[in-house]
């Protein structure tokens, strides 16, 4: 390679590389080109406040994780002993209430839009699994509080889990096990599911209105909107 060659020639050469890495990059670029991953425009039919609840859910998740990380920094006892710790715990609780509220409203909205249409079933399903994983994460959070709530919830919930054989392996009265699930395993699962969900949304685009047909005699620019 001489320095005089045009940079795109390097790119072209790289794109032709027949190794695993090159293949993965080509696949990624084909499935999700940068302008689809981070588009600076959106379909004209996205004209409703209901679309905000997806991004609000992600924003609340960010606050949940952020406040959870502060609690993790100081350890599980901190919030019982310090007023600042108790305040961070309050933030963690209220951001979880917001997270689940936003997510459920997002779910209602996507249901009434039948948002699984047009090869978007996997987007719907990753969302549902993320919802169930969030419920599990919140539940293990209640178990990890080390107060009357945790005592009562664990001794009650054990019966349900034991009745279907899960309790033998997932012991809600084992504080250490529940704390690990709450701060490692389930958040990791939610993180993976969220990224997967968002990538699928970007890859397929936002679902068009039911029965909508793209205006054929117009190009896909913003000036189309005038009939």
């Amino acid at each position: 390679m001489s320095a005089t060659e045009h940079p795109t020639e390097h790119l072209a050469e790289h794109l032709d590389t027949h190794n695993w890495t090159g293949a993965l990059r080509r696949r990624a670029l084909r499935e999700l080109p940068p302008d689809r991953l981070l588009p600076d425009s959106q379909p004209a039919y996205m004209s409703s406040w209901i679309y905000l609840f997806g991004v609000l859910t992600v924003a609340a998740l960010a606050v949940v994780i952020g406040t959870g990380c502060v609690l993790a920094l100081k350890g599980p006892q901190w919030w019982h002993l310090s007023s600042l710790g108790h305040y961070v715990n309050s933030m963690h609780l209220w951001s979880v209430e917001l997270f689940l509220a936003f997510m459920v409203i997002h779910l209602w909205g996507k249901f009434f839009m039948a948002a699984w249409r047009g090869k978007r079933a996997m987007t719907w399903m990753t969302g549902v699994v993320a919802f169930l994983a969030s419920i599990g994460t919140a539940f293990t959070g209640y178990l990890a509080q080390q107060n009357l709530d945790s005592q009562w919830i664990s001794t009650q919930a054990k019966d349900g889990l034991n009745s279907v054989g899960i309790g033998a392996y997932f012991n809600v009265m084992d504080f250490g096990q529940m704390l690990m699930w709450h701060i490692v395993l389930l958040p990791a699962a939610i993180g993976v599911l969220t990224v997967w969900h968002l990538v699928l949304v970007r890859r397929r685009g936002i679902v068009p209105p039911i029965g909508a047909v793209p205006p054929e005699d117009e190009n896909t620019s913003e000036k189309e909107d005038r009939p």
């Binding site: 004209a44 004209s47 406040w49 905000l52 007023s83 600042l84 459920v104 209602w108 913003e222 909107d225």
Partner: protein
């Protein structure tokens, strides 16, 4: 002698104390706390408002 809690505790004390006996509504088989009812009510209001309120049309669009 009057002893005040340390400053951070006073700054971080909640003005509205939700501890104390809970308020519950009973309606046949249904029992629900006022707090949960408020949360669910706000969610429904947000959902209906999100659908019904007109979304501003941006100038750049036309």
């Amino acid at each position: 002698m009057l002893t005040l809690p340390p400053l951070p505790a006073r700054l971080l004390a909640a003005p509205i104390d939700l501890n104390g006996p809970g308020h519950y509504l009973h309606w046949g088989v249904i029992q629900i706390s006022v707090a949960n009812l408020v949360v669910i009510g706000l969610m429904l209001i947000a959902f209906v408002a999100a659908i019904l309120l007109p979304f501003p049309r941006k100038r750049g669009r036309r």
